[in-house]
């Protein structure tokens, strides 16, 4: 409830002018413009440093105070006069106001007299009159306190007013009354809201009062009020003169002695030192007969009571008192007031045709000017015409009715607003949105339809209604269609693991598409020299790990097969942890190091670029790193595992410009779109592998699907590393050892850095992954220059090799020139070693044999020519291909053994011989020479004229070779035409027990048969520690020579002895029995071979430990991914087509 009388002002709550209706207290900031509209005139009295007791000024004093700019009012401490409220400014600095009194002393003297006169009289002021007068005072004071007030008040306001007008409080009914503002409801454009225009005077208290009651001469009025009084106001009904209402004489008593007023409040309102109460007596002298003091005293006493929030006052009775007051004689205001000085103080901003502009003090004029266009309540009131009760706004009428019906509480402070208007707080309460009747007198505010709509919206927003809660409770299940889509997707992803869906799933990729980014990436890693230093970046998060790590494992496995030395870096701790885990799984040799975290993302990469040695010197455990990267250029390749484009971009921006080292990306699908441009456009990026599909392909390339392997994708196992117990198919290349040259002996410099090995070759070592134990370095599958047994023991020939000494990569051209007519056909990395085929005439170009068996030319100055053993340079067979791929084959057309040489030159060493009708795969044709794959998987050169070269499916080649190999070997009974006296090489198994015959001359080879001690076998040839023998089932296998006694004997003797001693080979235990020629052509994957393998698996299942269904799981995952991807596309298409059709249909309607 508003505290008119006694509520002290609060700092910052300086709605100094217009806040009486907003409970008339200064706790309500001036934000409520609505407050200003009507009743702020009396609040001026409050803000003008009104009574310390908060008693509020008598409105009579108010207007007087207004005219004297309030400081005087500050001394009027009788709060009972502050009936229009809130004017309890006991805390107000009246000194400030008082300081302003100097200009109005004379005015106030007149005021005193008037007040005294009025005190003794019942007054029924015409509200309109008074309001006119009052509003005239601060006519131009704007709504905003910062500009509407006198300077001293403005200062207070400026200091204390909030920067932004706060929202009106709940009790601010004026602010709540919708468009209850001047700006909104001002149809006539007079700056006064329409409703205010309709507001008539409160007739009850002020009925009958006319301007005549305050009769002043025209001159006095002009001088005093200027525009305060409107012509209409003066013409309204008679009002009692102030002199009639106030006993100004009595006020003189205050001047004579210490305040000994009839009420303490009144005494407080007047400071005897400040007021010349004697002057007030003048009012009494010239005033008409005033009412008795008792009447006024009662009134003042009623007003004097401190208002309480709950106090109730019988307003009607109060007003009735006023009504009962005898109509004062028409008094001339001039008699009551000495207005001669007032004119100096007041200024009427409202233009009046009759009243000239008053002479106003500067401060008031400034205030008026600063008001701008804001309409002040006083101005509005000034413009108000007296209205009858019928013209009162409906809402105000209701208020009035309510107020009239309020019960009277005698204890209420009659000086407070509550006393004047009982239950003003409840009465003026804002419109309630709830159908809650607080008190009998309190009812809902009737809302307009628009307000009701807004209120409903607010309710929904606030969600405080039961309906909203009920609606929420009902929404427990997601929409049906969403559930269906989710179920469909989940089923698509899960079903492949439960059912075989071969009919709908595409074939699992077994090779990279030719010239694809993935193929280029594979080739880049495949051509790494032995012991190459590789920088591996782990830049992915846990959410991408399960997608990226299968690919990462394949790549790392491949690097391990290349015997690369890895330095792992990461800008995140998670990357470091995963690097440790993956490298431990895939690098059994332990030739890796995980550097500490590169902190700061881009800054860490920058540090790596600027000082790679320092960045990689410390490992992830804080110790000294086992391997260090001297510089970025010292790495042969940088492999980046990334799951976001930002990571790729960072590396491209921070690292790539500062090195010439090539990059290989391995990314997730999410990073693919924005990283593909780098792979396509930046020459430094050699290739890109993406996601799960490339991981499968990579795996199939490294390990063909025909080879069952243990649980392929278990993250905690090492599924991609064939163990000694399974069938290793490390590569399709034989891997000769560099017997004369230690493969990985490298000196360490003083900094602990392991330098590049100087003996890097371009032929890989025997697969270290074939077993957990190192391959014996002395074993070799490289035959001596002559593979015939008669030439066994010949010294290993030396050949010329070219070692690339240039940094980075060098181009190999088709012709010995660098002009446009000699395109680049390949590249070589720094340190790579290739066979030298010759030089040009000038000697400035060197003809070399590339790893892909192509011959090209390289500038002489880029290489260093050395001599190396031939055994180091048996080129490897190409990558695996699908059975349906068409390949070139060559069939020998000539009689006699055809020599297969190691180089496409007549002077080359003989690797093998071919007979009439032999069919071999042709890799390429270069001039007069054709590169062919021998049965033992080596690659040699044959002159093209001895071959019939044609293209056939790979499966056909296999069939031809199978048929060819199935021909009775030489250990079968020879035809009668054969020379039985011919001597053959034989081997007698001299060890007891069973001896395994392998498919390749390596300990890691697959066991294809077992032979027993005493078996006599035909030996085809001997290669170091291994001997190629013809098994009893006519297959060819390899046996270590130490188990055999090799000697020559006549063929007839061999046959006789074999029949007597040899027993059928035992059932094999190998999980992968290899068809005869497939043993040597492991690069071929055919349907027949697969079926044979599967049959052998079934046959050997009892003897071999069951292997996990890795292919099944792999297939399932691949099928699941493919189907899920497809379903997503289908759903997106169908869904959007549906909504598109719906939109069209609706538009058509």
């Amino acid at each position: 409830m508003s505290d008119w009388g006694n509520k002290p002002p609060q700092d910052g709550d300086d709605d100094l002018e217009f806040n009486w209706l907003s409970e008339g207290d200064d706790s309500q900031p001036a934000a409520s413009a609505g407050d200003d509209l009507v009743f702020d005139w009396h609040s001026d009295t409050e803000d003008t440093g009104a009574s310390a007791t908060g008693g509020g000024d008598d409105f009579a004093f108010d207007w007087g105070a207004l005219t004297d700019d309030a400081p005087a009012t500050a001394d009027i401490e009788d709060h009972r006069f502050d009936w229009h409220g809130g004017s309890v400014h006991g805390d107000r600095d009246r000194d400030t106001g008082i300081g302003q009194l100097q200009n109005v002393d004379r005015l106030f003297e007149s005021m005193e007299r008037k007040i005294q006169a009025a005190e003794d009289a019942d007054f029924g002021l015409d509200t309109g009159e008074l309001l006119d007068w009052m509003r005239d005072v601060d006519a131009d004071a704007p709504v905003e306190p910062s500009s509407a007030l006198p300077s001293w008040l403005m200062d207070d306001v400026a200091e204390s007013a909030p920067a932004s007008q706060p929202e009106p409080q709940q009790e601010d009914w004026v602010a709540r009354l919708g468009n209850f503002s001047v700006q909104e409801v001002d149809e006539d454009g007079n700056g006064v809201p329409d409703w205010l225009d309709r507001v008539g005077s409160f007739e009850d208290p002020l009925a009958g009062m006319t301007e005549a009651d305050f009769a002043l001469t025209q001159e006095e009025k002009d001088a005093l009020f200027g525009d305060f009084l409107s012509e209409e106001a003066r013409s309204t009904s008679a009002q009692p003169s102030l002199a009639d209402e106030f006993d100004f004489d009595s006020l003189a008593e205050f001047g004579e002695s210490a305040p000994a007023a009839e009420s303490d409040d009144l005494a407080q309102m007047f400071d005897a030192d400040e007021f010349d109460f004697d002057s007030l007596a003048e009012f009494g002298e010239s005033a008409p007969a005033a009412k008795s003091d008792d009447d006024l005293s009662d009134l003042l006493a009623a007003l004097d009571d401190a208002p309480t929030a709950e106090s109730e006052v019988d307003l009607d009775s109060l007003f009735a008192e006023l009504d009962d007051a005898p109509a004062p004689a028409q008094a001339d205001l001039a008699d009551l007031f000495d207005v001669s000085d007032i004119a100096e103080l007041v200024e009427d901003s409202v233009p009046s045709d009759e009243l000239p502009p008053p002479e106003l003090p500067d401060w008031l004029r400034e205030a008026a000017q600063a008001a701008g266009t804001g309409a002040s309540v006083s101005a509005i009131i000034r413009q108000k015409k007296d209205r009858s009760l019928d013209e009162l706004d409906d809402r105000l009428l209701e208020l009035r009715e309510i107020g009239l019906n309020l019960p009277i509480d005698e204890a209420v402070d009659k000086g407070a607003l509550q006393a004047i208007v009982p239950d003003i707080r409840q009465t003026l309460a804002p419109a309630t949105f709830l159908t809650v009747v607080d008190a009998p007198a309190i009812a809902e505010m009737r809302l307009s339809p628009e307000q009701a709509q807004r209120a409903d919206l607010l309710k929904r927003i606030v969600d405080g209604t039961a309906a909203a809660q009920e609606a929420r409770r009902r929404r427990t299940l997601p929409p049906l269609e969403r559930m269906l889509v989710a179920i469909l997707l989940l089923a698509t992803l899960i079903v492949p693991f439960l059912l075989r869906l071969d009919a709908v799933a595409p074939d699992m990729p077994t090779a990279f598409a030719a010239d694809s980014p993935a193929a280029r990436a594979y080739d880049t890693l495949e051509t790494l020299p032995e012991g190459a230093l590789v920088l591996v970046g782990f830049a992915y998060e846990a959410s991408s790990a399960l997608e990226l790590e299968p690919l990462a494992r394949q790549v790392l496995t491949h690097l391990a097969q290349r015997d690369a030395r890895l330095v792992a870096v990461s800008t995140s701790p998670f990357g470091v942890l995963r690097a440790e885990t993956l490298l431990a799984e895939t690098q059994p040799s332990g030739r890796y190091s995980v550097a500490k975290v590169l902190t700061g993302e881009a800054l860490g990469l920058r540090d790596l670029t600027l000082n790679a040695a320092a960045a990689t010197m410390t490992n992830s455990r804080g110790g000294r790193a086992e391997l260090m990267l001297p510089s970025l250029d010292s790495a042969q390749v940088i492999v980046l595992f990334a799951d976001s484009i930002d990571t790729v971009r960072l590396w491209m921006e921070q690292v790539a410009p500062n090195t010439r080292t090539p990059f290989v990306f391995a990314t997730t699908y999410g990073a693919l779109p924005l990283s593909a441009p780098y792979a396509a456009s930046v020459p430094q990026v050699r290739g890109q592998l993406v996601g799960y599909t490339d991981a499968l392909t990579y795996r199939n390339v490294l390990n063909p699907p025909s080879t069952p392997e243990p649980s392929a994708d278990a993250p905690t196992s090492t599924p991609l590393l064939p163990t000694a117990t399974n069938t290793p198919r490390p590569t399709n290349t034989p891997r000769p050892t560099a017997t004369p040259v230690p493969p990985t002996v490298v000196p360490a410099d003083s900094t602990g850095v392991t330098a590049l090995p100087s003996t890097a070759t371009d032929t890989p070592l025997p697969s270290a992954t074939a077993s957990r134990t190192p391959v014996p370095l002395t074993a070799t599958n490289t035959p001596p220059p002559s593979v015939t047994a008669t030439e066994q023991g010949s010294p290993v020939p030396q050949v010329q090799v070219a070692v690339v000494i240039a940094n980075g990569t060098v181009n190999v051209r088709e012709n010995p020139s660098s002009d446009a007519g000699s395109p680049v056909i390949g590249t070589l990395n720094s340190g790579q070693i290739v066979r030298v085929l010759g030089t040009n005439d000038a000697g400035d170009w060197v003809n070399v044999l590339l790893p892909n068996n192509r011959a090209g030319w390289i500038a002489r100055f880029l290489v260093r020519i050395e001599e190396r053993p031939l055994t180091d340079f048996v080129p490897s067979a190409p990558k695996r291909q699908a059975a349906s791929d068409r390949v070139l084959v060559g069939t020998v057309l000539v009689e006699g053994p055809v020599e297969v040489l190691d180089v496409p030159q007549p002077s080359g060493a003989v690797l093998a011989t071919l007979n009439l009708g032999d069919t071999v795969r042709v890799l390429l044709v270069q001039g007069d020479w054709a590169s062919v794959i021998l049965p033992d998987n080596r690659v040699g050169w044959v002159e093209t004229f001895v071959l019939e070269i044609r293209e056939v499916p790979l499966s056909t080649l296999f069939a031809l070779q199978t048929q060819q190999a199935g021909a009775p070997p030489t250990n079968t009974p020879v035809p009668a035409t054969a020379d039985a006296s011919a001597r053959v090489l034989t081997g007698l198994v001299i060890v007891e027990g069973e001896v395994e015959a392998l498919d390749v001359p390596q300990p890691s080879g697959a066991v294809i048969a077992t032979i027993r001690g005493g078996d006599l076998l035909r030996v085809l040839n001997v290669r170091g520690d291994w001997a190629s023998v013809i098994l009893p089932d006519n297959r060819i296998g390899w046996v270590e020579t130490f188990v055999l006694e090799v000697r020559e004997m006549p063929l007839s003797e061999f046959q006789t002895t074999q029949q007597l001693t040899s027993a059928p080979p035992t059932a094999t235990h190998t999980p992968t029995p290899i068809p005869p020629t497939a043993t040597h052509t492991s690069s071929l994957t055919t349907v027949e071979a697969t079926e044979t393998i599967i049959a052998a698996i079934a046959e050997a299942a009892a003897d071999t430990p069951a292997t996990p269904p890795a292919p099944r799981l792999l297939d399932a995952r691949y099928t699941s991914q493919t189907l899920g991807q497809t379903l997503a596309v289908v759903l997106i298409v169908l869904g959007n087509l549906f909504y598109l059709a719906r939109a069209w249909i609706r538009r058509g309607r």
């Binding site: 959410s543 860490g604 997106i1132």
Partner: protein
């Protein structure tokens, strides 16, 4: 308008440090007078210091974030209003403590790797899988709220990227290759250019003090 000292001060510091770092990092060795000026003044050293401080600040921020997370959850555990809130906080704190102690207690890292492989990765993958469902659902309903050219174009772009990634081999291989090579790569390049330009603009705005997300 009254200027606030804190805004002025922070803006000044940011601009000055930004300029110093830029000059210290960008000015090379072959720019004549500019290089001499940069070499004469400790721009590079200051730039390095600023970068180091940034890294340290980022690390501290991360540490503070972790500590705050722990504190919030501990508080919620003790004073949570609902049982579910308390349980959630308990899980968070327990996971944190288990992870820490697993690493500290097992120097070999086996148990920690078990946590990674058995908990962290599957949970993260599951969340990514949920994202799949949400994304597919959202993509299905791209045109549900109305058909506009922008939305249609967006749907087509999504389909282009997805179709080009379908592993269906030869029949679609050429088309997929074209899709990937032309529209997808073109769009990707455009995005990369946009990212670069946006980075430049944002950096410039920070340097001139127009973006002051730090001081307010």
């Amino acid at each position: 308008m009254r200027l606030r000292l804190n805004v002025v001060l922070t803006s000044t510091v940011v601009t000055a440090v930004g300029l110093i770092v830029l000059i210290g990092l960008l000015v090379g060795e072959d720019l004549g007078l500019l290089t001499q000026l940069v070499n004469a003044l400790p721009f590079r050293a200051l730039a390095e210091i600023a970068l180091r401080l940034a890294v340290v600040a980022a690390a501290l921020t991360l540490l503070i974030g972790v500590l705050n997370l722990l504190l919030v959850n501990a508080t919620r555990l003790l004073r949570g209003s609902t049982l579910s809130a308390k349980l959630g906080s308990l899980v968070v704190l327990a996971a944190f403590l288990v992870t820490i102690f697993a690493r500290l207690a097992d120097s070999s890292g086996a148990s920690y790797r078990l946590l990674q492989d058995g908990v962290l990765l599957p949970v993260q993958a599951s969340l990514s899988g949920l994202v799949l469902l949400a994304l597919v659902w959202g993509a299905m309903r791209l045109l549900a709220r109305g058909v506009t050219w922008a939305r249609v174009l967006f749907v087509l772009a999504v389909l282009v990227v997805l179709v080009s990634a379908l592993p269906f081999g030869a029949p679609l291989a050429e088309a997929q290759a074209w899709l990937w090579r032309v529209p997808v790569s073109g769009g990707a390049r455009g995005i990369l250019i946009g990212i670069a330009l946006a980075t430049l603009v944002v950096g410039w705005r920070v340097l001139i003090g127009q973006d002051r997300s730090y001081g307010e």
